[in-house]
């Protein structure tokens, strides 16, 4: 069995707002990649972190656990966490695990950025 692959890309879309594009698999093995992307965004002065799940192909419960840990880190630094690009399946998982109560979920990048105060 091949190891799961998680790819991330950090984009600074406005002052204080970074988008982290997440693609591939999100599992417990993704910790280093996700933390590195989060650290990168934080070092760029992000007060709002927008997670893009458009390229998400697979996520298990270890992956959801990692997202909770990421959220705690962000809350500690008073950063807002938003998300977009979740398929109906992953939206339901966010609801089931009640992650949707702490992460603002939006239909599109434009909607998430508008919520973060970035003018279109």
């Amino acid at each position: 069995m091949t190891e799961p692959v998680t790819l991330t890309d950090v984009r600074e879309v406005a002052a204080g707002v970074c988008v982290i594009d997440i693609s591939g698999d999100v599992t417990a093995a993704s910790e280093q990649v996700l933390v590195s992307a989060y650290t990168n965004a934080t070092q760029r002065g992000a007060t709002a972190i927008v997670l893009s799940f458009t390229g998400l192909e697979y996520m298990n419960s270890g992956g959801i656990g990692l997202l909770v840990m990421l959220l705690v880190r962000a809350q500690r630094k008073h950063q807002q966490v938003l998300a977009f690009g979740l398929s109906e399946h992953y939206r339901q998982i966010f609801e089931l695990t009640r992650l949707d109560e702490a992460v603002g979920i939006h239909d599109s990048e434009a909607a998430a950025l508008a919520f973060a105060g970035v003018a279109g």
Binding site: N60, M69, V72, S87, E88, I93, L96, T97
Partner: protein
């Protein structure tokens, strides 16, 4: 909006979204006073400090593969629990969406009736999530992975105490008891595969802050409700007896 995308390869592994838990059958000896109608709770909804506790045991890969181990663990999950605690799950094993009732012994020999839902299950892992009123808000992931010539077996808890009373209880011996619980479980599991396992415990405090906005969770406390239920059970029996006589 209709989702036109093809089914995800993890689709069958996740439970379907539920607003409240349902319990269809209550096995003999189990008590369903703290599960049906309750919502699931992640660490986000908990009160206390957030902890990640990992219990690990290594077995020779020649003895059991990760897939075989997880299949056995799912099928015979209650058998590996330490004495004094009962897991009333479906007889068919562990599957996503299953709800199991639990009878636990807390410090001071206090009894707790609660439950869990199977949040996720695949060939190498499964996760149980707790409902409102459970001693902690969060989940436990049981997994097995290949690691060289060994099979690495883990139980990993991501949790916050659900309310201030549980937080005190966990601080005053509850965490220690939980460590002992999962150490014994993994030791029993390893023994099933005829291996004398040494369990390693790693505890990380993920968030030292307590979520004071969640103190009201105490109204859902399964410990308080179980105690009230136990104390008032003679009166209930008496009332039922009178009803039969009349």
């Amino acid at each position: 909006m209709t989702d036109q995308s093809p089914p995800r390869r993890d689709a069958a592994s996740w439970a379907k979204s539920v607003a409240q838990l349902r319990v269809d059958d209550v096995p003999e000896g189990a008590t369903n006073i703290n599960v049906a109608g309750r919502r699931l709770t992640s660490p986000i909804q908990g009160f206390g400090k957030m902890w990640q506790k990992t219990y690990t045991v290594r077995l020779p890969a020649s003895r059991v593969s990760p897939e075989e181990l997880i299949a056995t663990w799912k099928q015979r999950f209650p058998e590996f629990w330490p004495a004094g605690n009962r897991f009333y799950g479906p007889l068919t094993g562990i599957a996503p969406g299953d709800v199991a009732l639990l009878s636990m012994t807390l410090p001071g020999r206090m009894k707790l009736s609660t439950g869990v839902m199977v949040l996720y299950a695949d060939e190498r892992s499964f996760t149980l999530m707790t409902p409102q009123g459970h001693m902690f808000a969060g989940w436990i992931t049981f997994s097995a992975e290949p690691a060289g010539d060994e099979t690495l077996v883990q139980a990993q808890v991501l949790m916050r105490a659900s309310d201030p009373i549980y937080e005190v209880g966990l601080t005053l011996g509850g965490h220690r008891q939980e460590d002992v619980f999962w150490n014994r479980t993994l030791t029993k599991l390893a023994a099933h595969f005829e291996h004398e396992g040494v369990v390693e415990t790693t505890v990380v405090c993920v968030d030292r802050r307590r979520q004071w906005s969640r103190w009201r969770n105490v109204w859902q406390s399964a410990a308080i409700r179980t105690t009230v239920y136990t104390v008032t059970s003679p009166a209930r029996r008496l009332r039922r007896g009178r009803g039969t006589d009349g």
